[in-house]
């Protein structure tokens, strides 16, 4: 059986009915990872993966009905799984072994998941192409001359290339949605707080979330149900009941109010994605959705706002990597100051250093008000503007990216061009709102475009419903 052609939900069913064993499925995917090693999507297959699968089979035999019973999962390299390496694709943490389980890993294990390995990423999740990995770039699953996007490039490529039925990514400014878009799969950044960040190596704490990457919308809704739910270890996680996201997919969009932003209409002019974007809007309208023309006047400022808040938090979050308690200590260091200076200078890659420097700039005395405080106020203003839109609309539809995946190396020497990859995705992070990307149509080379659906906070179900409808009916 070609397990990579099954959806997650189909596979779960087969496993639960014991038509296939977890060992069989796990071995199959591990074999595929080996075959597709050239993609460099997976940094490590855990050596106990088969053992985990054996245990899962045992449990299934004994009547265990976990939502992921026996399902192989790949996690991004910044998510802690006790006893396993978690390097954030950084030389600095090359040999770091997680000392505890993240909440998301815990939740997946409780549902019987078999976590088979960790996926490549941009170092410390900083980047949009996975070229910032200390362990070499991941290739796009659909075109090996192109980037898979980032920072969750390995996770997205793994699902798209059929190396696992589902993977986890993290999304700070688009790091799940943009690679999902570039690899033609579905990824969601949930509502801020929906999923606990405990045990996920922090980049920008106030805006990032873990989310699933899957081949289709329903799989995604299913998986988010497993990951969601507050944690006593995370104050910012929401201690509220988790809805059944799957049941919120109604197969109907009649009367749903779709917000189209004036600013986005302006921005897409001349972009690759323009045609697809408009045809998706037309499709929704033709199928009974109500198109509501709205505005977030400061939309264009989401990018600068993000590039203040995220580096500020990152610079502080990454202070703990200092060569003292964990992380590689420079052999050249002879005293404590040198341990800091040399370990960090040798350990961090260029992009990480850039953002640490920028973060220190916006936080430092004399600049704090003009940058950090201003950005926080701007964030508040954007929330107010978006609140007005969501008072009239159920979802906002916009592109995920400006076009299809770009060529490897095309932007690696132009940080600003790389930053602009996040143009359409950052808004959701700034708002804390859930946003999903799904593939919509392809260009003449067969590369997918991604369309993004942002729903109001806590309304993932609405985004899933609209996305599922597009997935089923839209032919670009």
């Amino acid at each position: 059986m070609k397990f990579e052609e099954l959806s997650l939900i189909e596979l779960v069913k087969l496993l639960q009915e014991q038509k296939v064993s977890s060992v069989e499925v796990t071995k199959y995917f591990i074999e595929r990872i080996k075959e597709k090693q050239n993609l460099n999507a997976v940094l490590e297959v855990y050596d106990d993966a088969i053992e985990q699968a054996e245990k899962a089979d045992e449990k299934i035999k004994n009547g265990f009905k976990g939502k992921l019973a026996g399902v192989p999962v790949i996690i991004k390299d910044n998510i802690l799984f006790k006893g396993k390496k978690a390097s954030c694709s950084s030389k600095f943490l090359e040999n770091y072994v997680a000392q505890y389980n993240s909440t998301v890993v815990e939740k997946m294990l409780n549902e019987g998941a078999v976590i088979i390995g960790r996926a490549n990423m941009d170092e410390f999740a900083m980047g949009s192409s996975t070229e910032n990995s200390a362990f070499g770039p991941t290739l796009n699953a659909l075109d090996p001359t192109r980037v898979p996007g980032g920072s969750s490039g390995g996770s997205a490529c793994a699902v798209a290339a059929g190396l696992c039925p589902v993977s986890l990514g993290t999304d700070t400014g688009g790091s799940i949605r943009q690679p999902a878009s570039y690899n033609g799969i579905v990824g969601i950044k949930p509502t801020y707080g929906r999923v606990s960040r405990y045990g996920v190596v922090a980049f920008a704490s106030s805006i990032e979330q873990v989310g699933p990457l899957t081949k289709n919308v329903k799989d995604n809704a299913y998986m988010l149900g497993v990951l969601s739910g507050g944690s006593e270890h995370d104050e910012t996680s929401l201690k509220i009941e988790v809805p059944d996201f799957l049941s919120q997919i109604k197969g109907d969009i009649k009367g749903i109010k779709v917000g189209v932003l004036k600013e986005v209409e302006e921005m897409v002019k001349g972009l690759d994605v323009e045609k697809t974007y408009h045809s998706v809007i037309d499709f929704l309208k033709a199928n009974g959705a109500e198109i509501v023309y709205s505005s977030i006047p400061d939309f264009a400022l989401t990018l600068p706002c993000y590039y203040i808040i995220a580096p500020a938090e990152a610079t502080s979050n990454l202070g703990r990597f200092d060569g003292v308690k964990y992380s590689r200590r420079s052999p050249k260091a002879t005293n404590v100051d040198e341990i800091y200076l040399k370990s960090r200078s040798e350990g961090f890659g260029k992009e990480v250093k850039r953002r640490i420097m920028l973060g220190n700039f916006v936080l430092s005395s004399g600049y704090f008000d003009a940058y950090y405080n201003k950005a926080k106020k701007l964030q508040q203003k954007l929330k107010i503007e978006a609140g007005k839109v969501f008072s009239k609309c159920d979802v906002i539809v916009l592109p995920t990216t400006t076009g299809v995946a770009f060529k490897l190396g095309a932007k690696s020497n132009d940080p600003i061009a790389m930053y602009k990859e996040d143009l359409f995705t950052i808004l959701a992070n700034i708002l804390g709102a859930p946003a999903l990307s799904l593939p919509c149509g392809k260009n003449e080379e067969g590369l997918p475009y991604g369309i993004q659906i942002i729903a109001n906070s806590l309304n993932e179900g609405m985004a899933y419903n609209v996305a599922d409808y597009i997935e089923k009916g839209y032919r670009g």
Partner: protein
């Protein structure tokens, strides 16, 4: 808007705050890059936010964690990833206090 200029002293100051060291060469090449980044973030200056008040997400005192002591991790697990340990402690070269 005029591009913010960055001096080498400024970059050195930031490197100090960042606990990062750069060669003179790296510092020099960093300046134009950094100026470009500032050009991007300087856009927030155009936005009028004078009437905006930042709202903090909050919880009530009663919702906070109860003061119950629980078991800690074993010492060897705490020290697991340390580049250097001695006598059950993390260890660095002797500091002048």
């Amino acid at each position: 808007m005029e591009k913010t200029k960055v001096t080498i002293e400024e970059v050195k100051r930031l490197a100090g705050l960042s606990s990062l060291e750069f060669s003179e060469e790296e510092l020099k090449s960093f300046i134009p890059e950094f100026e470009n980044m500032l050009e991007l973030v300087d856009q927030v200056k155009n936005c009028d936010v004078s009437d905006v008040e930042v709202k903090y997400t909050s919880h009530k005192l009663a919702q906070l964690r109860e003061d119950c002591a629980k078991d800690s991790l074993p010492q060897e697990e705490i020290l697991l990833n340390s580049p250097k340990t001695k006598k059950g402690s993390f260890c660095v070269p002797k500091m002048l206090d």
